[in-house]
Symmetry: C3
Subunit: 315 residues, 3 copies
């Protein structure tokens, strides 16, 4: 593995999931692998689980971790090639990436979609600039269009809880009060398309995701119909891809509650967190034994650790 930016960097999801489950049983077995290696974590946006789980995973492997918040710890970065930098950005990403690549053995980057300019977001300019200039392996800590460490943790969680060989997994849109990126939904779709599952997406009309991520996945506009017989319900809000960054409906009838969960085959509820309780999903569902949200989050440690281990082995 050269980088971990998307599912396309993974030769086998199954192998990675199995390796992660092995690591979970013996987290400190590979501490010599990371000795004298430094992971740099660059945050253009806030983070809770990603920041902590990735640091923890790296330290489990014996690595040192240096975290930096762009904009508070350090200055804003210019992304445009050829820019005359007379505005409020003091440094160009070219320099920042190249310099960080000289201090760190692996770099993790969080940089959310701005939701103003679809072309720019979907070009993944921040990751691409780091890829071009940093010269070291990169880990996507949630980019404009993907969140692969989350998706891998989701795959681990499904593997641990599935009761049938090919479970039915439903990605359902949830209501929210502000426009959110498509990254988690895109990424989850991409990983599900590469997994041994029956994958279905349900959302209100207008919230269709980019075909580049969902392939031929069936989209069902009736949420209850989609839930029928499901083994895993994966909830997430996203703003419109086609009317980019827009909220098209308040969608309050898309909240996941116990009544809807009753339509599933004793299905589990999944969500990547943070989750706004009772806006997206009810307390009843989140506090039920069928909720996997904490397990999912806990598996972020193992998804990060297996990825870092693979990258360390390739150094």
């Amino acid at each position: 593995m050269n980088h971990f930016l998307s599912v396309h960097d993974v030769d086998s999801i199954d192998r990675l999931v199995n390796e992660a489950i092995k690591i979970k049983k013996a987290p400190f077995a590979d501490q010599s692998l990371g000795q004298n290696k430094t992971l740099g974590l660059l945050f253009f946006n806030q983070s809770f689980r990603t920041r902590i789980s990735t640091q923890k995973a790296a330290e489990n492997l014996g690595m040192k971790v240096i975290s930096l918040n762009i904009g508070s710890d350090s200055w804003g970065l210019e992304m445009d090639e050829g820019a005359l930098m007379d505005g409020n950005k003091a440094e160009h990403v070219k320099e920042a990436a190249a310099v960080l690549g000289r201090y760190c053995d692996i770099i993790g980057i969080r940089s959310f979609a701005g939701l103003q300019d679809r072309l720019s977001d979907y070009q993944e300019r921040v990751l691409e600039q780091f890829k071009k200039h940093a010269g070291v392996p990169l880990v996507n800590l949630e980019s404009a269009t993907r969140h692969p460490l989350q998706s891998l943790a989701d795959c681990i969680t499904i593997a641990e809880h599935k009761k049938v060989a090919k479970p039915k997994v439903v990605l359902t849109w949830l209501p929210h009060i502000k426009p959110l990126p498509q990254a988690v939904a895109n990424s989850f779709s991409e990983w599900m398309c590469g997994s041994e599952v029956e994958f279905v997406i349900t959302h209100p009309k207008g919230y269709e995701l980019s075909p580049d991520f969902i392939g031929n996945t069936p989209v069902i506009y009736d949420q209850k119909e989609a839930f029928e017989g499901a083994h895993f319900i994966y909830g997430k809000n996203w703003s419109s891809y086609h009317q980019y960054g827009q909220i098209l409906t308040d969608g309050r009838d898309w909240v996941v509650d116990e009544e809807k969960m009753a339509l599933t085959d004793n299905g589990f509820f999944m969500h990547c967190l943070p989750v706004r309780r009772n806006l997206k999903v009810t307390d009843g569902v989140l506090d039920s034994p069928q909720s996997l949200v904490i397990d999912q989050a806990a598996n972020r440690e193992w998804s990060a650790q297996v990825v870092l281990k693979e990258l360390l082995k390739s150094l």
Copy 2:
């Protein structure tokens, strides 16, 4: 010890103080105890001594430390059970606590009083939610009503400097320009009530602390009378408990100066820092050999270390 939230978690103050003094002489003797253990430090408020001394103490014990500022590094947390989360809080404390408990072996939390709603502050909702959901030992890094790591450091400092078996210790209110929590004063009182000292409190009328913390401690409204024959003067400002969060008087005549210190029995001056010079206490007192403020702060490392050591042993 299951948690370290208040003096009530301590079986013997004396034993803890003596153990801390032992640790101070050989800080790196227990490094295997913390190996592969992670301390998570969560700050809802700013911190200087607590942040650094606790990290240092944990690292002395061989632990890893992950610090997170809520609100800048990460998002705001909803505390209300059953809330419809359509406001500015993106995550519920239930999830945050449970997730952090999966990544960390021990969690430290700083969360000051809001001083708007006494009931809510004195219910210690943040600590209680973490206690319910985190599933790992907690350390109070100053909560709405208590600051036990400070109080333990104060007990260590008194033990190191006392010249009589049962010294007279005076907690005196000091003036300030803005309303401050009662946490340090409450906590110090609680620890003094459990210690072999003659404990007295002095403050202007209206600044009475909650009886839950001071018990039968005598309150003397005449500061100079209280100072007579004292071995330790412990200064601190707090806002009114009964007229909750209010400043009732500017109290400029309550400043501690050399003249007042002359009334004591060659007494030491103590304060938990930060201290506003010449507003609360004069340069003359702070820069005199009788000031213990730096020793107190330095002892924060040992109070944190003895607490973490106890918690690690109970894991």
Copy 3:
């Protein structure tokens, strides 16, 4: 070495440069030196390279690192002796320095010039207060008037790239949109004055640096004339020292471009970063093989490591 605040703390620049180049070849050879030693890093201002390279260097030496942002992680510090602290500063530097000195074995401090009051900036009040009260070795992470870790990295970079025994080094003023401190220019001058180079400064009239830093260095007001035959062009903006903190000219004709670089003896371009592309220097120069800006930044790790190593040896 007792402190590393300026070139005056260095007995031999050459020895330090050679030692740094040795460390660069075996960065992990001295890990026992820093065992159980803690470096505290205090930032009054933002930082990217300094923060990361200094942390990395310390960890290479086996040290622990605790970083703190004054103003966000912690509160503002009062600098004035005798102040009545009834404003927005909650803590005096006396206490902060003394306390930090009890937790940390070495302290690094970043504190930029305010550019409002020359006397105050040039008195280096923050460093001086820490020197007086911290009681441990200090490292200057860029102060009001100097940036010696950068200057040492610059010396390492020149040593690695020079092709003649005594190269011609030109410090050139560059345009900028806001007033910047003189620290980097002062410091570079000071280190060049102590090095085996032909050192020349060029800037528009009115931007003369303090004679305390440049000594007898020739100043040439014609940039192109200064560039002739140069082996190293060191670009930097600074605001006026004499009309303190003022921008006297937009100086757009002082941008370094390929045409100007052609006047040099196949000279290298240096800049301490961050650099505003096309405002101070063109993409053509920065992206050319003659640009050393990334190597300079990478050498910050080794300048920090050699300094920390010297200080650790003196503990």
